[in-house]
């Protein structure tokens, strides 16, 4: 299987998962969503193993840069989103603390914890990778 065929099959699997997920969400079926997710993951692993795709250093460098860029964009975005959603409720605007606006505070809290979680994961990964690649600074 060449890379083109691999990408085509991967796109088909992604389409299948997206369709099934949409059906699961519209039918409120947790079991279908879970089954689809697990099936999709298994299919992706199988296709990947069959394809034997060559992963070279440029591809790895690209992935590293893309991951860093994603973090650099996503973490401040959800952090800022959390602040914007929490300011009205924390700022004493009563209208945002009840009724249909109540979910805004909950969503703000979720985003705030999510951004904190991302920062913690990034810091821990950085710490361990720094140690692995000899950045402890101890002179021998």
């Amino acid at each position: 299987m060449n890379k083109k065929r691999y990408l085509q099959i991967r796109a088909l699997v992604a389409l299948f998962v997206a369709t099934m997920m949409a059906i699961a969400v519209s039918n409120h079926s947790f079991l279908l969503a879970l089954t689809t997710l697990l099936t999709g993951m298994a299919l992706m692993v199988l296709v990947r193993l069959q394809a034997n795709i060559k992963l070279d250093e440029r591809e790895i460098a690209l992935r590293e840069k893309a991951a860093h860029l994603t973090y650099a964009i996503f973490a401040p975005t959800i952090g800022l989103g959390a602040v914007i959603m929490l300011i009205p409720t924390q700022g004493g605007f009563e209208v945002f603390s009840k009724g249909e606006f109540l979910y805004i505070e909950s969503l703000g809290m979720i985003l705030a914890y999510l951004s904190l979680f991302m920062i913690v994961v990034y810091s821990l990964s950085y710490f361990f990778l720094n140690r692995k690649y000899g950045g402890s600074g101890d002179e021998k």
């Binding site: 060559k54 070279d56 250093e57 440029r58």
Partner: protein, 69 residues
């Protein structure tokens, strides 16, 4: 950092695909190196130099300011 991979490849009568297979990378990577869009790792640079039976500095030419990129 400039390089003479294209010249050495022509001298050894190799296509980008063949060179890529010999050094264990994709054709896209060889193309990116040749067009100075990607700097190879030291390991890959050594592999390429060894394949062409040349020194690294004969293939890769250092230019001022390269390390600031």
């Amino acid at each position: 950092m400039k390089n003479k991979i294209r010249v050495f490849r022509a001298l050894h009568n190799l296509t980008q695909e063949q060179l890529a297979d010999r050094v264990g990378v994709t054709r896209q990577t060889v193309n990116a190196i040749e067009s100075n869009k990607y700097l190879p790792s030291l390991g890959l640079a050594f592999k390429i130099a060894k394949l062409f039976n040349a020194k690294i500095e004969d293939i890769f030419i250092d230019e001022e300011g390269d390390y600031e990129k």
